[in-house]
């Protein structure tokens, strides 16, 4: 072991017990990184099952029940066990305390507990996967989920219920840390924008997650004990479920994308070596998105028999979300203006995010426009839209962040050309997979269909081909990142010449992050010219 690493959190006491009982936020981040990567791979396998079936119009690869389980498990695994924890639990856990100048999160034991809860929830859900599966769609719509489905809905619901507590605890920990643990001189408006985004996300997590937890419990209770919440035959209302479900699950979209926006703000500033343009606007747009995000759930219910006047309100508020999203996008673009743009793998992920997230955000307008939503809802247009946000936005940002902070987290440099190839393959493969789905959606192809009319085969084949390229793009990092751990060059403390407290400590950081308590005396992203600036 090199000297650099033996002095770091990675060189602290070894062994399984030392890792599984660690209270170090950085080690917990690594535990999360390993767990969510396993679930990302599992969710990806289910996705491959879906795309292979859709190569042909006939439902000939899987039985209908098997296909229904594949898309359900793809959604449940990717959303609850990969996307929601992804950036907060890995990059957030690792970086947030260092970025605010703290030795750890406010509650290190609770942080470890949150990982154990995540694992317990994940294992419970996996038990459902192997004991009957789940075929309700990740949306668990009643009364199908509560009276009709013959799969392991109750077990899966308990798994989702348990996992919710993990999010709540992480959110709580972040909020307290940001309030109480900032280093001297680290005022709110000197916080890196990643911290602002994590803060906004944490608010959504602690306010929204209890609602989904209660909702899935009600489904379980209706299934097991025939309490009439959602089944009209028992006096319940099936649409009530949709209100409760989306009251959490729409904000959950912001739990997935807000941290990605935070990562982007950091990456754009570092890649450009420049102050983030309009810092205050970018910071407050995170809060605006978090707040507005709680008031738009009814846009999932335009054709559900919801009151048309309620629909009107949900439509206009949804349109308003476009404004802070546009503000962020333009501020990122403006940050690059007269910057000093570094061209590394991180840059490719940043550019990819900008393109895909913009398309994802703008296609939300199609669905927010009530009249057009009648035609588009429940079609592949919706599938394409949210994949552009969640994969094109959230996962691109996650991958960008992982590449940017990898040297900090592991103390190793990875193979740049490999990382650039991965970013390009993901970008090309992603567009080839999901752009055709916008067209399929407008043509009317419904979601969650195991078989489809023949005239839609060409676009579906294109989509499956794209998914193969995407698969290669995501497979590549498994090699060069693993390789970097074994044979990678040692990373200096600040390989990118970036600003921020995390770059002032060694790579990888020591267990308590800072040898001396940091004092902050400058704003974030304070890139001052040390020599004549070249702006040619």
């Amino acid at each position: 072991m090199t000297d650099n690493i033996s002095r770091s959190y990675l060189g602290a006491p070894h062994g399984v017990a030392a890792w599984l009982l660690t209270k170090d936020h950085k080690r917990i981040a690594m535990l999360y990184l390993i767990s969510i990567t396993i679930f990302f791979a599992l969710g990806g396998i289910f996705a491959a099952g879906i795309r292979l079936e859709l190569l042909t119009p006939k439902g000939d690869l899987w039985t209908p029940d098997m296909y229904n389980k594949l898309f359900t498990l793809h959604g449940v695994i990717m959303i609850f066990f990969f996307l929601i924890p992804s950036i907060p639990a890995t990059l957030g856990n690792f970086l947030l305390p260092i970025m605010v100048g703290a030795k750890d999160l406010a509650f290190p034991r609770i942080n470890l507990l949150s990982w154990y809860i995540y694992v317990a929830g994940a294992l419970t859900t996996l038990a459902a996967v192997f004991n009957g599966g789940l075929d309700t769609g990740w949306t668990f719509y009643t009364p199908y989920s509560s009276i009709a489905s013959e799969t392991a809905v109750t077990t899966a619901a308990i798994g989702v219920f348990i996992t919710g507590f993990s999010s709540i605890l992480t959110g709580l920990n972040f909020i307290v840390t940001v309030h109480r643990m900032r280093a001297p001189g680290m005022t709110w408006f000197r916080l890196p924008l990643f911290v602002w985004a994590q803060y906004a996300t944490s608010l959504v997590m602690i306010l929204g997650t209890p609602v989904i937890a209660i909702t899935v419990l009600l489904v379980g209770a209706e299934r097991a004990f025939h309490f009439g919440f959602f089944d009209p035959r028992l006096g319940g209302d099936p649409v009530l479920f949709q209100h409760l479900f989306w009251f959490y699950s729409h904000p959950a979209v912001y739990i997935m994308i807000l941290p990605g926006m935070g990562v982007m703000s950091e990456l754009v500033a570092a890649v450009s070596r420049k102050q983030v343009f309009g810092y205050g606007f970018v910071a407050f747009s995170s809060l605006a998105i978090a707040i507005l995000g709680f008031l738009v759930w009814g846009h999932h219910l335009f054709v559900s028999s919801q009151s048309i006047y309620a629909g009107l309100v949900f439509s206009i508020i949804t349109m308003l979300v476009a404004v802070p999203s546009a503000v962020k996008t333009f501020n990122w673009a403006a940050t690059m203006y007269k910057g000093s743009i570094m061209w590394t793998a991180t840059t490719f992920w940043v550019l990819g995010f900008m393109g895909l997230f913009t398309i994802g955000g703008l296609t939300g307008l199609f669905l927010a426009s009530m009249g057009l939503d009648i035609h588009l809802t429940d079609t592949y247009f919706v599938v394409a839209h949210f994949h552009y946000i969640m994969v094109g936005g959230a996962i691109m940002a996650y991958m960008g962040g992982l590449h940017f902070w990898w040297p900090k987290m592991t103390g190793k440099m990875y193979n740049e050309p490999g990382a650039i190839a991965s970013a390009i393959l993901v970008f090309v493969g992603f567009n080839l997979t999901f752009f055709p789905q916008f067209i399929l959606g407008y043509m009317g192809m419904p979601r969650r269909y195991h078989a489809y009319p023949e005239e839609w085969q060409v676009l579906n084949v294109a989509s499956t081909l794209g998914a193969s390229v995407l698969f290669l793009g995501y497979l590549l990092p498994a090699f060069y990142l693993t390789w970097s751990l074994v044979k990678g060059k040692e990373a200096p403390a600040n390989p990118w010449g970036a600003k921020g407290l995390e770059w002032t400590v060694p790579s990888p950081p020591p267990t308590f992050n800072f040898d001396e308590d940091p004092v902050v005396d400058e704003p974030a992203y304070n890139y001052k010219p040390t020599r004549e600036v070249h702006v040619g």
Binding site: P232, F330, R448
Partner: protein, 322 residues
């Protein structure tokens, strides 16, 4: 319909299809503009301002209020245009024209059962005449389904426990896809069918062709029979001597409830009053009617509603209302 080898639109077969496509193209054009703008900006900046020296940093620029306002106000205005246009279209599609012909559709795992007012029944097909608005009253026997006809640009959930409606006016004769668009279990992707729009005279011929299952009694006549079979008639007497309210002329009227509220007697009100009569008790009556939840199917219920719709107010009742 589409002769193009690579169609981007479904067939244009209803009175709203062109407007729907225009709204789509409008938002697509705005989106394309912004995607190209953002992509061009970041790409040009990334190349033009590429780092030329390892120690180089960017210019010391912090922001611009004018620019922030620009990219707040312009997206806001564009989003509001999309909102107003979309809301207007949605409201028109939520309100069937008064002269629309009515068809009853009930979804169940995994088929669509259709009944025309004249009594003709179909499964997984729907025959409609071109040039006349068609109003579909939609119910579900089990879980949530969704009646979706892309060529007509309409879609509506069939929700158990209530009746919903959608309408469209076919403009071009042809055979079009019908899908269930809300996931409903094993054979969700098999819950499909065809909408056949026909010239009016062909539709009339089809309707009266006994070979395709015509000659059945009308929905209302069936409803009248059920009204006796379920013994509704013993209490809801036409002359007011029964223990329940007179139903003559009740459909579409304002009903005063025991708790002081007034509601409009639409399909959902009548449905609810049959299934769970205690939910809304009419002023002046006792809550003595037994609930029919679980004993009466959605299909039969729709026929009873069709019958109640035909009960016209007798002269004195009408006079009282005025």
């Amino acid at each position: 319909m589409s002769s193009s080898p690579f169609p981007l639109f479904p067939p244009n077969a209803s009175s709203v299809a062109t407007e729907m496509d225009l709204l789509y193209l409008f938002i697509a054009a705005v989106s394309a503009f912004f995607v190209v703008l953002v992509a061009a900006l970041v790409f040009v900046f990334a190349v033009k301002y590429r780092r030329r020296h390892p120690d180089e940093v960017g210019a010391d620029i912090h922001g611009s209020l004018a620019l922030e306002l620009t990219w707040t106000v312009i997206p806001f205005i564009l989003a509001m245009v999309m909102f107003v246009w979309g809301a207007d279209l949605f409201f028109r599609l939520s309100r069937p024209p008064a002269d629309a012909m009515e068809v009853f559709v009930v979804g169940k795992q995994w088929m669509w059962k259709v009944q025309h007012p004249e009594g003709k029944r179909e499964i997984n097909e729907l025959h409609v005449p071109v040039g006349r608005p068609v109003r579909i009253t939609l119910g579900s026997e089990d879980v949530i389904h969704d009646y979706s006809i892309p060529a007509m640009r309409v879609k509506m959930d069939a929700v158990p426990g209530k009746l919903t409606t959608l309408w469209f006016e076919p403009t071009v004769a042809g055979t079009y896809h019908l899908f269930c668009a809300e996931y409903c279990g094993t054979k969700h992707s098999g819950m499909i069918g065809q909408v056949i729009a026909m010239a009016p005279q062909e539709y009339e011929a089809w309707l009266s062709d006994a070979g395709t299952g015509a000659g059945g009694v009308s929905a209302a006549a069936n409803g009248e029979k059920l009204f006796s079979e379920y013994a509704c008639v013993t209490c809801h007497k036409g002359d007011g001597s029964g223990r329940g309210p007179i139903l003559n002329g009740v459909f579409g009227s304002q009903v005063k409830l025991a708790d002081g509220r007034t509601v409009t007697a639409d399909e959902n009100y009548i449905r609810e009053s049959v299934m769970t009569p205690t939910a809304k008790v009419v002023a002046g009556f006792q809550p003595i009617m037994p609930p029919f939840q679980g004993t009466i199917s959605e299909e039969n219920l729709i026929q009873i509603i069709a019958y109640i719709k035909t009960l016209k107010a007798s002269a004195p009742a009408a006079a009282e209302k005025k």
